[in-house]
């Protein structure tokens, strides 16, 4: 059975060009870039190229890039560094829909005595800017707001938010893990101080990421050790992965247009067809300010895990924000923050495409998906042939 991979916000395939660039650095050019001999030195020079490539994609200078092991490490480094550099201030502003790398981190910081404001979002997953402005106080150290939401693809106006923070002398960090490589971004023209990115979300290997830190930003390292990354991140560089990340960034820059035309058109075609063919369905999140590859749909009166396992029988890979897939018994925190009704939240499916998807795959999904929902609805006590009979009395009493 062939695999139809529509779960690219979870992880992506390594691009063949990326793998090809990585391979020599395992067995042949395995030197340590910090070594004094030229066998290691040549590797160090190659890392400089990778740093240039990453910087170019996001409009940064090479010295503003710190290589890390993943997006989570970048996020942790950014926030901890901001706090360490401003010991007098105790307030952090973020949102209710962040990735766990920020969400769980600020929960820990709250236990450590920091005051945390998690901004709510509206039904389409958007922030209220007045509300945001009011949350910024003289005690606020850092704001961390994701650029694009991993579940819904909804984009936050981070460039505008960063300016507002800067005007009050507050550091601004953004988790750009889902945005980098999918939408054009240029940090030269923005007030963003720190940005996290992750290799495996843009066709590089797992286990490599980067943190952008604007020149002149006070920085405190997270991993203490050797002098690598100019003393900003101890630990021998993951050379092949970093070289691969450089190539992936170069490819992403080249494919940005394809991402926003071809991928977007596949996504839109699939989304529109499914909404049209399946009654009682909807899009979760703002359809306009959204990543071009992401579609988060809900199907009333059916449960997400059941949908995923039926899709799995056809080799179709997607994900869900339902309670059963998270293991947490409640639908995803993102859908709950958006106030998605229970009848919809449990039946959410996220499709996330990439430039490697092709039209026949989308046609196949459009053909196979509606009967799955139809069949699961015949199993559902809240659905009678062709119509919802939700026992509202029953769930309103909870």
């Amino acid at each position: 059975m062939t695999t139809i991979y529509l779960d690219n916000n979870a992880t992506t395939q390594v691009a063949p060009e990326v793998l090809e660039a990585m391979l020599p650095y395992f067995c042949d050019l395995y030197g340590n870039p910090s070594s004094m001999h030229s066998f290691g030195g040549q590797v160090g020079r190659r890392l400089r190229l990778a740093r240039d490539q990453v910087a170019a994609l996001i409009g940064a200078s090479p010295e503003e890039i710190i290589f890390t092991s993943c997006g989570t490490e970048s996020d942790n480094t950014a926030i901890r560094s901001a706090l360490a550099a401003n010991p007098g201030k105790r307030h952090i502003v973020t949102t209710r829909v962040e990735h766990p790398a920020i969400h769980a981190l600020v929960a820990r910081l709250a236990q450590e005595g920091y005051r945390v404001t998690e901004l709510p979002v509206d039904g389409d997953g958007r922030l209220n800017l007045e509300h945001y402005a009011r949350s910024l106080t003289p005690d606020t150290v850092v704001v961390s707001v994701m650029w694009a939401n991993n579940e819904t693809g909804v984009l936050f106006p981070v460039e505008q938010l960063a300016v507002m923070a800067h005007n009050k002398g507050i550091l601004f960090h953004t988790d750009g893990v889902q945005a980098v490589g999918k939408i054009p971004l240029d940090l030269r023209t923005s007030a963003i101080d720190m940005l996290s990115l992750s290799g495996h979300k843009l066709h590089a290997a797992k286990g490599v990421g980067a943190l952008y830190v604007r020149k002149g930003t006070r920085f405190s390292p997270f991993l203490i050790g050797g002098h690598q990354e100019k003393g900003r991140r101890g630990g021998t560089e993951s050379v092949p992965s970093i070289i691969g990340l450089g190539i992936a960034c170069e490819l992403a820059a080249r494919n940005l247009e394809k991402e926003n035309t071809f991928v977007k058109s596949l996504r839109d075609r699939m989304e529109n067809a499914l909404l049209e063919r399946v009654p009682n369905s909807r899009v979760n999140g703002d359809r306009h300010d959204r990543l071009p590859n992401t579609s988060n749909l809900s199907f009333e009166y059916v449960e997400g895990e059941a949908i995923l396992l039926r899709l799995n029988e056809f080799g179709i890979c997607a994900s869900s924000g339902s309670a059963c897939t998270s293991g947490s018994l409640q639908p995803s925190h993102v859908l709950r923050a958006m106030g998605v009704p229970f009848t919809m939240a449990h039946g959410s499916i996220r499709f996330s495409l990439s430039i490697y998807n092709i039209e026949p795959e989308i046609d196949f999904v459009i053909e196979k998906f509606p009967p799955i929902i139809e069949e699961l609805r015949t199993l559902s006590p809240y659905w009678e042939v062709g119509q919802a009979v939700c026992a509202r009395r029953d769930f309103e009493s909870v």
């Binding site: 997400g304 059963c324 897939t325 018994l329 199993l379």
Partner: protein, 275 residues
């Protein structure tokens, strides 16, 4: 991805007995859409009182669908009395086991069965009433007590896996811990009553008579003597005031036998013999 058994996946992909029985003898809807799963069970009895038809409708994940499908297969051909004895563990076992985080699916099956049988009998379900402990998922104190007792649960996490209680805001964790402590402090009936050898049983009967029963009788000028133990029949002879008391059979039944049942074995019966 969950580690489902082949049988679970098979029942999920090809569920048996989907739908609703026409003119059912018993029917129940448990769970609700807000909590993420719900099960409607209907069954009908044949002229011999056996379940001839059972059908389900489930809103929920793969294991919720599989557990309901399994339940309907299991109860077909059973009498109501037999079906009443099914536990959630029986449902999980039928599927070759469920991931521990999914045990609540088997509990939902057992609850639906119990509620449908109660509907058939026209009696209320004890577990459905009682104080709500978990507001997020609407789980009551008797429900939690029961799963802790029946499945030998030791931690809050296990209770959450079996009932969902405590899996939302977490505000009830303290109350759940109190229930676990309370239920586990009462030794489980099987554990407290290991099967006795005849010798042990006679020894315990003698001790109980000496310690608990004869001193009380003597206060009223009466007494009794253990003559023999035949199977579960405890033969005693009355002495003193008891020998001439018109109400002695009440004393033997309501006091002596009750004490022996409580402290030695629930199967004991007291008989008076003259010697």
């Amino acid at each position: 991805m969950w580690e489902y058994t082949e049988k679970t996946l098979e029942h999920f992909l090809h569920p048996r007995n989907v739908g609703e029985v026409e003119n059912p003898d018993g029917t129940a809807l448990v769970g609700n859409i807000a909590c993420g799963d719900a099960l409607k069970l209907t069954f009908r009895l044949d002229e011999n009182g056996k379940i001839s038809e059972a059908k389900f409708k489930t809103f929920g994940c793969a294991s919720a669908i599989a557990a309901a499908s399994a339940l309907t297969e299991m109860i077909k051909g059973m009498t109501v009395e037999e079906a009443e004895k099914l536990t959630n563990q029986d449902i999980a076992d039928y599927l070759g086991g469920l991931p521990k985080e999914k045990m609540h699916c088997s509990v939902m099956g057992r609850e639906a069965l119990e509620k449908a049988i109660a509907h058939y009998k026209g009696v209320p379900v004890a577990e459905a009433e009682g104080k709500i402990i978990c507001e997020c998922f609407g789980v009551t104190e008797p429900e939690i007590e029961r799963v802790v007792r029946e499945n030998d649960l030791k931690t809050i996490e296990e209770v959450t896996n079996y009932t969902k209680a405590g899996g939302g805001c977490g505000g009830c964790h303290e109350a759940i811990q109190e229930i676990i402590d309370r239920v586990r402090a009462i030794p489980r009936p099987e554990a407290a009553r290991p099967r006795l050898t005849n010798l042990q049983k006679i020894k315990m009967i003698e001790e109980t008579l000496e310690r608990e029963i004869r001193p009380a009788l003597r206060q009223d000028g009466g007494d009794l003597e253990l003559i023999d133990v035949v199977g579960n029949k405890v033969q005693v002879a009355t002495r003193g005031a008891c020998a001439s008391c018109a109400a002695v059979h009440l004393t033997l039944k309501d006091f002596v036998e009750a004490k022996l049942k409580e402290l030695v074995s629930a199967e004991l019966e007291v008989e008076e013999v003259s010697q």
